[in-house]
């Protein structure tokens, strides 16, 4: 036993504080929970480098991969928040569809006289945020599981989007955002820089703010967090609202990159984004993994899909591969002890 220490020698610096930069990096890596993701990313790149005879390592292809990964990465940065709190958000497609239609109709277009200019960015984010807010309120106040709430909401929003859109393909006539996102002042497309920035901001929010830490407390043990004084409902609603905001931003970028807006913009997004989040190591049980995991997951999945395209795999079979990856990733990251009987 160590000798008794009293309060007075409290300022003594313990051993674990000191250490070289290498040790600090090592410790950070061990704790950050992305070592497995880094290794997988390298492996996937290496496998496809062999499979495509190095085509996937060309500068041009790397640019393509980064641009392709950008929007899913932003969406994943949003969606993973709802998984961190122990829920899930399946309303992604509906929210993106509705935001896309509104973005199309509010920007300068062929169908009406609207033109809000660059205000379309905050407006898109606000619409997404409002959708998320409603979802969060329904989930927490009506006390229904998040997966069915968000599934229902997704159908509602998608239905509304199609109803408003009426099968028009809205071409945008304002290409300022489009030019911006494709510019490469830093060597890579701005859209990728934006995605990276978003991931960093969300990660900072998770690590260094009170609310961010409460997300993890709720995901770790909701009942206990409530007992200790965390305002659980508020935290959960916030997670869904922030996720919604990021879907809104994703929709703005998506629409502007394509130059046209339709309600179909959101189709086939949920699947890859959830897969990316799961592959990144954000456990469905909640409380584990952050925005960096979502980012790495997106990168892994994009490299995988890009590799399959380069190897000319049947595009429909690619979705099937994603499905298998999703189930495998969830199976690996799920903490079954915490869940008891799985239903």
């Amino acid at each position: 036993m160590r000798p008794a220490a009293s309060n007075t020698d409290a300022m003594r610096v313990p051993k674990s504080m000191s250490g070289t930069a290498v040790e600090v990096t090592k410790r950070w890596l061990r704790r950050s929970g992305i070592v497995a993701q880094l290794i997988s990313l390298v492996l996937v790149i290496a496998v496809f480098a062999l499979g495509t005879e190095g085509k996937n390592l060309s500068g041009a292809n790397i640019q393509v991969v980064l641009s392709l990964a950008a929007i899913p990465a932003i969406l994943a940065a949003g969606l993973h928040l709802t998984i961190v709190i122990g829920g899930i958000d399946l309303s992604l497609q509906g929210t993106v569809a509705l935001c896309a239609v509104f973005v199309g109709l509010l920007s300068r277009n062929k169908f009406n006289g609207n033109d809000v200019g660059l205000w379309v960015v905050p407006i898109g984010i606000a619409i997404g945020g409002a959708c998320g807010l409603v979802t969060g309120l329904l989930h927490t106040k009506l006390r229904i599981p998040s997966f069915i709430t968000t599934l229902g909401i997704s159908w509602v929003l998608y239905g509304l989007a199609v109803y408003i859109n009426r099968a028009m393909i809205i071409s945008l006539q304002d290409d300022r955002i489009q030019t911006f996102i494709n510019d490469k002042p830093l060597g890579i497309a701005n859209i990728a820089v934006v995605a990276l920035a978003i991931a960093l901001i969300v990660q900072f929010f998770e690590d260094r703010t009170r609310t961010g830490r409460y997300l993890y407390a709720v995901g770790g043990d909701e009942a206990l967090a409530k007992q200790l004084g965390v305002k659980v409902d508020r935290v959960k609603i916030l997670a869904f609202a922030v996720a919604g905001c990021l879907y809104g931003l994703g929709a703005v970028l998506l629409v502007n990159r394509m130059g046209t807006a339709t309600s179909r913009a959101g189709l086939n997004l949920l699947f890859p984004v959830i897969t990316a989040v799961a592959v990144g190591g954000v456990s469905l049980t909640g409380g584990l993994g952050g925005a960096k995991n979502a980012l790495f997951g997106t990168l892994i999945l994009t490299v995988l899909n890009n590799g399959m395209v380069l190897m000319a795999v049947n595009p429909y079979a690619q979705t099937a591969v994603n499905g298998v990856v999703l189930i495998a990733a969830v199976a690996l990251t799920l903490d079954r002890k915490k869940l008891g009987f799985i239903k």
Partner: protein, 512 residues
């Protein structure tokens, strides 16, 4: 031993006439408790004596139906744990209240991070430094940035104690009260010594309520001891000079009446062996044990929580895997670790959590009673609703289940009647061995008597039973034989046939 306090002690926290009722039971009946400054108070009592309910009332998780709480002479109402902690009262429970995926630092300051904010951003460095400062007196060497899930049970306890102290210091409580709910059951010997070292030091600035089953450590380390029995105060006295045997006597009470458990209906068991356990063991849960249960015999497993008796029963019922040995029921060996094989072999299990594990609450009484015998209620290969009704009616009458109709959902029945539905389900299925896990927990006196009657009746019909009870009297009264378990070992076997019943005092010596 540090039992004499030189300074005059003041009463910090006083509870007076606390009564708390739950459906069917009175958990606390006008209980009073005084906690003085700078002392370690031992709170002892059997399982279900009301210790944890009292704790939960003191820290505001439950509200008392009657009675008052005084803090430093002022009457107070505790509105939840965070309110209690602001008044300087906190508890550390066995199950723990740390969020496993958060780090030690984050758990220490959860919901009280305001001091560490800079422009809305948390200063991790300052938090970690403060956490180290708080943990220094706790004598543990842990990485404050590591997730709590990676800590040992002892370290988790220390973190929790540190949190309670920090919060009361922060809210300006001069003499915080820390309630420790059976902290030593998860600790090894050296960790236990460390804990008591720290508690004795903490005593200089705090009061500690120490709840434990282990009378030895209570007497050695506490200044005063309060004994609860069946939700009532039994005694409150200094520990100086107190003998264990005196406390044991108080603990089990003396109102041991002759026929509460229908002993006169008890019969000697038949010769044939129903259940044979041979060298059955599970690493970390219980050492290999061997015993037989005869036809119509009631065996009671006696021991504290953590003695291994629960795990033993789960293994016999096929709910858990065991490592060595074998279970033989009526000459056959069901596959181990399979509840299905155990049930098919004739082993039934009446669980302690009857709502969560015993009943399909939204289904009807008839559905629940008939569940195991559906195959016998068939007519031309199809389940016949006429046979179903007949069977359910017969067993509702047999087991005295009080229900509006056999079609009513089980959720609406009282605890006692729910228990009788579970018993009917097993008894009607032709079970050979029934494991009863606290069969009378939380049910009222009348229903208890009926459950005893059923147990006697079916023992008479040849069903063997293994039983774990709420009180030692119940164990002694019901059983033909008592098996005593302590610290994962079967340490003794006591005859409890009519006329040879041991006294609770004799038994408790072995148990604790």
């Amino acid at each position: 031993m540090e039992t004499t306090i030189s300074r005059t002690q003041t009463v910090v926290l006083a509870a007076e006439g606390i009564t708390r009722r739950f459906p069917g039971v009175t958990a606390l009946d006008h209980v009073s408790l005084e906690i003085r400054s700078n002392e370690i108070l031992g709170l002892v009592g059997e399982n279900g004596a009301g210790k944890s309910v009292l704790t939960k009332i003191l820290i505001g998780i439950y509200q008392a139906d009657e009675g008052r709480i005084w803090l430093n002479g002022n009457e107070v109402v505790m509105n939840g744990t965070s309110d209690a902690i602001q008044k300087g009262i906190g508890a550390v429970f066995q199950e723990g209240s740390l969020i496993p995926n958060l780090s030690v630092t984050e758990n220490l300051f959860l919901c009280h991070e305001a001091d560490f904010l800079q422009y809305g951003v948390l200063s991790k460095r300052r938090m970690a430094a403060e956490a180290r400062r708080l943990l220094l007196p706790m004598n543990i060497d842990i990485d404050v940035d590591a997730p709590v899930a990676s800590l040992s049970a002892a370290a988790k306890q220390m973190v929790e104690i540190a949190r309670v102290l920090w919060l009361s210091e922060k809210y300006g409580a001069s003499n915080p009260v820390v309630i420790l709910d059976e902290p030593t059951t998860v600790l090894n010997d050296s960790e236990r010594d460390t804990l008591f070292d720290i508690l004795n030091k903490l005593k200089r600035r705090a009061s500690i309520v120490f709840i434990s089953h282990r009378l030895q450590e209570v007497l050695e380390n506490c200044d005063r001891i309060v004994v609860l029995k069946d939700g009532q105060n039994v005694t409150d006295m200094p520990t100086a000079g107190l003998q264990i045997s005196e406390v044991e006597k108080l603990l089990v009470g003396h109102d041991f009446s002759g026929d509460r458990f229908r002993e006169n209906e008890q019969l000697a068991p038949n010769e044939p062996v129903t259940l044979k356990i041979e060298q059955m063991g599970k690493a970390g849960a219980f050492e290999p044990v061997s015993f037989d249960v005869h036809e119509g015999e009631i065996i009671s497993l006696v021991g504290l929580v953590g003695s291994g008796k629960e795990e033993l029963c789960r293994c016999i019922a096929g709910l858990d895997q065991y490592d060595t040995g074998s279970v033989t029921i009526d000459g056959t060996r069901p596959r181990k670790g399979s509840s299905r094989a155990a049930v098919l072999g004739g082993i039934g299990h009446v669980p302690i959590e009857r709502r969560e594990e015993g009943l399909a609450l939204n289904l009807s009484v008839a559905d629940n009673i008939n569940y195991l015998v559906l195959d016998k209620l068939k007519w031309a290969g199809l389940i016949s609703s006429r046979l179903e009704k007949e069977h359910a009616r017969r067993w509702v009458a047999e087991c005295l289940v009080k229900t509006p109709s056999i079609g009513s959902a089980c959720a609406g029945l009282s605890g006692g009647n729910q228990q009788k539905v579970i018993l009917s389900k097993w008894l009607s299925s032709g079970v050979r061995l029934l494991i009863l896990d606290h069969p009378t927990r939380g049910i009222d006196i009348g229903a208890k008597d009926e459950v005893y009657r059923l147990i006697r009746k079916f023992a008479k019909s040849g069903i063997a039973m293994i039983i774990m009870c709420d009180t030692l009297e119940e164990d002694i009264g019901l059983a033909n034989r008592l098996l005593v378990m302590r610290e994962r070992r079967l340490i003794g076997e006591i005859d409890a046939s009519p006329g040879h019943k041991p006294s609770p005092q004799e038994l408790i010596k072995l148990v604790v």
